[in-house]
C-alpha cells in the first residue's frame, strides 16, 4: 500500500468511481486528484480485473470504500470479508480504505444497506473491537464513516457525536466525515447542522464525502431527508465544508459521491470546483 496518507500536505478533490463516469473521469484527470472505488464491486475480480484497477491506481490515487463489513456491531466482523478487502488493498495499491459505522446484518438476515445500530457503550465497544480486528487482518486501519439514518436508532444511550467520538478515541481511528449524512441526521432529528458538526471530533477527520439527497414523505405526513446520492450537493452541505475547513487545519481528501441520474461530467466538475472554493474559504477564515 502506498503511504501517501501520512504525507498528505494539501487538500485533494475527487469523485467516486462508477462505470458510468469512468470515461469522463479519465479524460479530466487534470481536475480530479483522487478516485474512490466501491470495494465490494471488485471482491470477486480476477487477475485481469485487478490488473485494470492497478493500472488505474498508477494514473490517479485510489481509495477503496467498503459498504458491507458491518463494523459497528456487537458481532465480530467476518474474517472472509476482511480477507477480500485485504486482497483488494494489496492488489490495487490503494493508498487507503474506509468503511461505515453501521451494521448491515443480524441473525443471518441481510438488511441490504447501512443501518445505524443502537448507539450505546456496547456497540461502541463492538465497533472498536471490529476496527482492531480489521486493522490487523487488512494490514491498515480503515477510515470510519458516519452514516445517515431515517430512523432514530432505538435503544440508544449516546447521541451520534458522543458515540462517534467514543469509537474514534478508543480505537485511535481517523474519520471519513460524510457531510450530507451529518446534515440529513441533523435536520431529520431536530439538531442544528453546524452545532452538530462542531461536536464531532474534527481533528480526526482525514477525508470528506459530499452528496445530495431528497425530501421524502412517510406515514402521517412525516418528512425526512433521504441521502440518495442522486442529487447535487446542496448549499447547506458546502457551508458545512467551509466550516470544517476553518475548524480542521489538517489536509483533507474530499470525494463527491454520485450513484445515479448522472449529470454531464461538466456539472460534476463544477461541484468539485464549488467544494474547492468552499474549503478554500474556510481555510482563509482560519488564517490569522
Amino acid at each position: 500500500m502506498r503511504r501517501m496518507r501520512g504525507q498528505l500536505t494539501r487538500d485533494r478533490f475527487g469523485l467516486g468511481w462508477r462505470a458510468e463516469l469512468a470515461a469522463g473521469i479519465l479524460t479530466h484527470l487534470d481536475r480530479i486528484d483522487v478516485v474512490e472505488i466501491i470495494a465490494e464491486d471488485h471482491f470477486r475480480a480476477g487477475r485481469t480485473g485487478l490488473r485494470a484497477l492497478r493500472a488505474l491506481a498508477m494514473q490517479v490515487p485510489v481509495l477503496l470504500h467498503g459498504v458491507s463489513l458491518g463494523l459497528a456491531s456487537t458481532v465480530a466482523v467476518d474474517d472472509a470479508r476482511l480477507d477480500r478487502m485485504a486482497r483488494l488493498v494489496e492488489a490495487t495499491g490503494a493508498e487507503a480504505w474506509s468503511e461505515h459505522l453501521a451494521f448491515v446484518r443480524g441473525g443471518g438476515i441481510e438488511i441490504g444497506h447501512l443501518a445505524a445500530p443502537p448507539r450505546s457503550e456496547a456497540s461502541a465497544a463492538g465497533a472498536v473491537a471490529n476496527l482492531r480486528r480489521a486493522t490487523e487482518r487488512v494490514g491498515s486501519a480503515p477510515l470510519l464513516e458516519n452514516i445517515a439514518t431515517l430512523v432514530d436508532p432505538p435503544a440508544s444511550t449516546l447521541d451520534e457525536a458522543d458515540w462517534t467520538a467514543r469509537i474514534v478515541d478508543d480505537g485511535d481511528a481517523k474519520l471519513l466525515l460524510d457531510l450530507h449524512n451529518l446534515y440529513a441526521n441533523a435536520v431529520n432529528f431536530g439538531e442544528e447542522p453546524l452545532a452538530l458538526l462542531r461536536r464531532f471530533p474534527l481533528e480526526r477527520v482525514r477525508a470528506v464525502h459530499l452528496s445530495g439527497g431528497v425530501w421524502i414523505e412517510g406515514p402521517r405526513k412525516a418528512r425526512r431527508l433521504l441521502d440518495d446520492h442522486l442529487h447535487d450537493v446542496p448549499a447547506e452541505v458546502l457551508a458545512l465544508l467551509r466550516a470544517l475547513g476553518a475548524a480542521a487545519p489538517q489536509p483533507l481528501t474530499v470525494i463527491l459521491e454520485r450513484d445515479g441520474r448522472y449529470p454531464p461530467m461538466a456539472r460534476l466538475l463544477e461541484q468539485l470546483d464549488a467544494a474547492r472554493q468552499a474549503l478554500g474559504e474556510g481555510r482563509a477564515m482560519a488564517r490569522p
Binding site: 456491531s73 456487537t74 458481532v75 451494521f103 446484518r105 443480524g106 441473525g107 443471518g108 438476515i109 441481510e110 438488511i111 441490504g112 444497506h113 443501518a115 445500530p117 443502537p118 450505546s120 456496547a122 456497540s123 463492538g126 439514518t149 431515517l150 430512523v151 432514530d152 432505538p154 435503544a155 440508544s156 444511550t157 431529520n188 421524502i216 412517510g218 406515514p219 402521517r220 412525516a222 425526512r224 433521504l226
Partner: protein
C-alpha cells in the same frame, strides 16, 4: 444497550415486512417474544415509528437495486445462463 440479539431483531424489522407489521401492531409482545431484556423491550416500544417505516422502505428499495445490479452484471457476462437463453431465442426467431 445493544446485543447480537437486539441487532438480529432490528435486522428482521428492517428487512421483513411481516415481522415489522407484527411488531407495529403489538411492539411489547413482539419484542418480548424475541427474548430481549426489559430495557430493550421498553426502548423498542418507544421506537420512532415513522422513521422505522421510512427506513424499511428505503432498505427495500436498496435491496431491489442490488438485485437488479447483480442480475444485469450476471446477464451481461458472455456464456451466462441468461445470455445463452437470449442467444437461443434470437436463433429461434431467425429460423422462423
Amino acid at each position: 444497550m445493544s446485543s447480537p440479539r437486539l441487532e438480529a431483531f432490528l435486522a428482521r424489522l428492517y428487512a421483513d415486512e411481516h415481522a415489522r407489521h407484527a411488531f407495529l401492531s403489538n411492539p411489547h409482545s413482539s419484542a418480548a417474544a424475541a427474548g430481549l431484556d426489559a430495557d430493550e423491550v421498553a426502548a423498542l416500544v418507544a421506537v420512532d415509528r415513522d422513521g422505522l417505516i421510512m427506513a424499511a422502505r428505503s432498505f427495500e428499495a436498496k435491496r431491489r437495486g442490488h438485485r437488479r445490479h447483480r442480475l444485469m452484471r450476471w446477464s451481461g457476462l458472455p456464456g451466462s445462463p441468461i445470455s445463452k437463453i437470449i442467444a437461443r431465442g434470437r436463433l429461434f426467431m431467425r429460423r422462423r
